[in-house]
């Protein structure tokens, strides 16, 4: 166990150092891009009663990105009436205010049309079919649209750069996967329950933060708006409470009755169906974004694009993971948790209060899953089944690392997360999850106990 612990500690340390190095160079590299010619500048969002559609037409393949000036854009409402038009300025930006107040436009859809004639001859849209775009207004702030111009990134010659870019995205994703996987694996380790409703804990976090975000008014501190940040913290806390409550009212009584693990697994499936539909009942079927950080201009680190948002998300996830790892490794409760995961009966006979540990694990695991949900929602938007879609990947990560092992689930999450993103270099993006699931099956064929699991009979 100790050798294994040390190995994981080194791994974590290596990741921390890499991340710090990346963030360090990010702040150094960011201001360097202002050199010669006009730069692409995103129009500023205005905080007034009207909603505007803002946009940017910019060739991001050039360094520095070159704006496209003089493109004509018209906006039509749902019945096809023209409600506004604009021409891109020297910085490639455009702004079209929508008629009426914000409330009038909420929930409506608008169609943006680019005038192909007005395009300069040497510039082409990346996707030539994308001359129209539909914008749904579901927030009372300005909507932002970007039209990518120029050839798609990585036309074969910068295969390595593209791989690196994907790997960076993969690391961010794998941190969130690790947050979710840790809870699932700890719950399995201590109670033997394969929790199919774990995905709903993830969704719960995303929705909890969204509910807070939706409340009227904003929360500010020293003039900076921190509504969403408060939402992240609240989601973490409320999810923990939700996990504790779920354990107390459902799982603890079932354990006392001596319900078998397969029966509990089927109960968790029922709970998953129940919660998912309750979520849809209250939230509806659409995709949401939080009111802040919906779109941000990326930093350029050499050839790689990285948004500040991603760095912050990765930073939060990583620090929470490190804290939880340290707590599991050194605190009394952490040690007790690992003891229970290892052998519940032996742990109980050596004086550990197993029920208390399980309660802590449920609270902690749910809080981590909720945090993963809200961070995932921040990075790519979310709907009522974000967690359900993620569930199989979490399973893949946990099985790869070793079902029930705590460090294993994190290692598994990193491998699966990075694999998913980088595999899109060679396979179509729509099939990227298939790769992860094939790995899952292959692991069971070769090493059923997982990478860090103990070689015991599992059949």
């Amino acid at each position: 166990m100790h050798a294994c612990l040390r190995r994981v500690a080194m791994l974590v340390a290596a990741v921390v150092i890499t991340t710090i190095a990346v963030t360090g160079s990010a702040s150094a590299a960011a201001p360097e891009t202002s050199q010669g010619g006009e730069r692409c500048v995103r129009p500023e969002t205005t905080d007034d009663d009207t909603i505007s559609i803002l946009g940017l037409i910019c060739d991001t393949q050039e360094t520095p990105p070159s704006p496209v000036e003089g493109v004509q854009i018209t906006v039509e409402d749902e019945s096809g009436n023209e409600v506004g038009e604009a021409t891109t300025n020297a910085q490639g930006g455009f702004e079209i205010p929508l008629p009426g107040t914000a409330l009038d436009n909420l929930g409506k859809q608008f169609t943006l049309k680019l005038d192909e004639e007005s395009f300069p001859e040497e510039v082409q849209l990346r996707n030539p079919n994308q001359v129209t775009r539909t914008v749904a207004i579901n927030l009372s702030s300005d909507a932002f649209v970007a039209f990518p111009v120029g050839p798609a990134p990585g036309g074969g010659d910068n295969f390595f750069v593209e791989g690196l870019q994907l790997a960076v995205g993969g690391i961010v994703f794998s941190l969130l996967l690790a947050l979710s996987a840790l809870g699932l694996s700890m719950i399995f380790g201590t109670t033997g329950l394969t929790n199919f409703a774990h995905g709903e804990l993830i969704t719960f976090g995303a929705l909890a933060a969204f509910a807070l975000d939706r409340l009227p008014g904003t929360i500010s501190i020293f003039g900076a708006e921190i509504t969403v940040i408060v939402g992240v913290i609240a989601a973490f806390a409320v999810s923990g409470l939700f996990g504790w409550f779920q354990d107390k009212t459902l799982w603890a009584p079932l354990r006392r009755r001596g319900t078998g693990i397969i029966a509990m697994m089927i109960v968790s499936i029922g709970l998953s169906i129940f919660l998912r539909n309750v979520f849809q009942y209250f939230a509806g079927g659409s995709t949401f974004n939080y009111s802040q950080y919906a779109s941000v201009t990326p930093w350029e680190l050499g050839p790689i694009l990285l948004t500040p948002k991603e760095v912050v998300i990765a930073g939060i996830a990583l620090s929470v993971l490190v804290l939880v790892s340290l707590a599991l490794a050194y605190t009394r409760t952490g040690k007790a948790t690992r003891a229970v995961a290892d052998n519940p009966a032996l742990a109980a006979s050596s004086g550990i209060n197993v029920e208390r540990v399980i309660s802590v694990v449920w609270t902690g695991g749910a809080a981590l899953a909720g945090l993963a949900g809200v961070l995932l929602g921040l990075s790519q938007g979310f709907d009522f089944q974000i967690g359900f879609k993620l569930l199989l990947l979490v399973f893949a990560a946990v099985v790869l690392g070793g079902l029930g092992t705590i460090w294993g689930s994190m290692v598994g999450a990193f491998i699966i997360g990075i694999l998913i993103e980088v595999s899109t270099l060679v396979i179509p993006a729509e099939l990227k999850y298939v790769g992860a699931l094939v790995v899952l099956i292959a692991v069971l064929l070769v090493r059923p106990q997982g990478l860090l699991g103990k070689a015991q009979r599992v059949g």
């Binding site: 397969i262 089927i266 499936i269 029922g270 129940f274 399973f395 079902l403 179509p428 099956i441």
Partner: protein
């Protein structure tokens, strides 16, 4: 509130093509879970392979319909072998995760752009059921006047479907009272004991997986023929879970459990659907729109379904007709 309408619509669904599909899928799961104790969470994958085999053979390759049926059954055997080899030696929960992952792989592959030429991508395939329909002796709508009525095609699917259900139930009945079936049941009860008696547990489990998978393929055929179209959304993960609910309502390890389960399941699902749809529609609905809109009304049945699955498993895991002693839910 039109109670008679509600009742007749529900009866129509309870005996209709959807009930046939879930019944066949649950018969397959009964062989896997009820009799052998295998936790197959990928029945939707077996169904997809069966359904797409018919559709693709006829539409994409222009081959005869019956050849598609043969291909479908062969393909499910191959799938069962592929799934069984790595997982049947493992614990039950591993099998659950692998089968659910495999079903998802199949669904994603079938819907992928790369294979559009064979499987039609996300929009799926159509125009493959002409042969099947040309065999139908039924020309007009069938039903009991004023109570229930089915369209000609639906009724033909029902006739064929319920006949298949009858045959499958007979097969399961004969299999399970044979010595072979007794070995399966004893694997469910105590694998090690069976092994010590010199039986090849692995081989028996594989045979069970193949046979149950073929019942799943039949469910897939009926899915495709019922709507005369097929697309990946028909085979989402939830389908397997619904089939489990059907099995658990009727009672696992009972030959007629899935039949009773499917009829009850579809009666309740469509009754709840119609009831809440009627309660929320019109100018002055029974339930005010602030509490429930008509869109939200369609979710109530799934909320109830999830709750029912939980409560069923907690308080009456043997279902309506099952025997509590004959349940493998404590196996580890």
């Amino acid at each position: 509130m039109d109670w008679q309408d509600m009742f007749s619509l529900s009866v129509q669904e309870a005996l209709g093509p959807s009930a046939v599909v879930y019944c066949l899928a649950a018969i397959g799961l009964n062989v896997h879970f009820g009799y052998t104790g295998l936790l197959n969470f990928g029945q939707a994958g077996f169904m997809a392979v069966g359904g797409y085999a018919i559709a693709s053979t006829v539409t994409s390759f222009g081959l005869p319909f019956l050849l598609g049926v043969v291909f479908g059954l062969l393909a499910t055997v191959v799938l069962a072998l592929l799934l069984g080899v790595p997982t049947l030696r493992l614990r039950a929960d591993y099998l659950a995760i692998v089968t659910i992952a495999a079903a998802e792989i199949i669904r994603l592959m079938l819907g992928s752009i790369a294979l559009t030429d064979y499987f039609g991508g996300q929009s799926g395939l159509q125009d493959f059921s002409d042969t099947f329909r040309s065999w139908s002796p039924i020309s007009g709508p069938v039903g009991i006047l004023g109570l229930v009525s089915w369209r000609a095609n639906d009724f033909w699917v029902m006739v064929v479907g319920w006949t298949l259900v009858l045959i499958c139930c007979l097969i399961v009945f004969l299999l399970m009272r044979s010595p072979w079936g007794r070995v399966l049941k004893s694997i469910r009860e105590d694998e090690d004991a069976v092994r010590s008696l010199g039986k090849n547990v692995y081989s028996y489990k594989m045979q069970s997986l193949i046979i149950g998978g073929m019942f799943g393929a039949l469910a897939g055929f009926m899915t495709a023929l019922e709507s005369a179209a097929i697309n990946p959304a028909f085979f989402a993960t939830d389908i397997t879970f619904f089939a489990y609910t059907v099995l658990l309502i009727g009672g696992a390890a009972r030959v007629l459990g899935p039949v009773a389960g499917a009829i009850i399941f579809w009666f309740l699902i469509s009754f709840l659907g119609v009831f809440f749809a009627q309660a929320t529609e019109g100018a002055a609905p029974l339930i005010p729109p602030e509490i429930m809109t008509s869109q939200q009304a369609s979710l109530i049945r799934f909320i109830v379904l999830g709750l029912a699955l939980m409560l069923l498993m907690i308080f009456r895991p043997q279902g309506i007709f099952g025997d509590r002693r004959e349940l493998a839910i404590d196996a580890r």
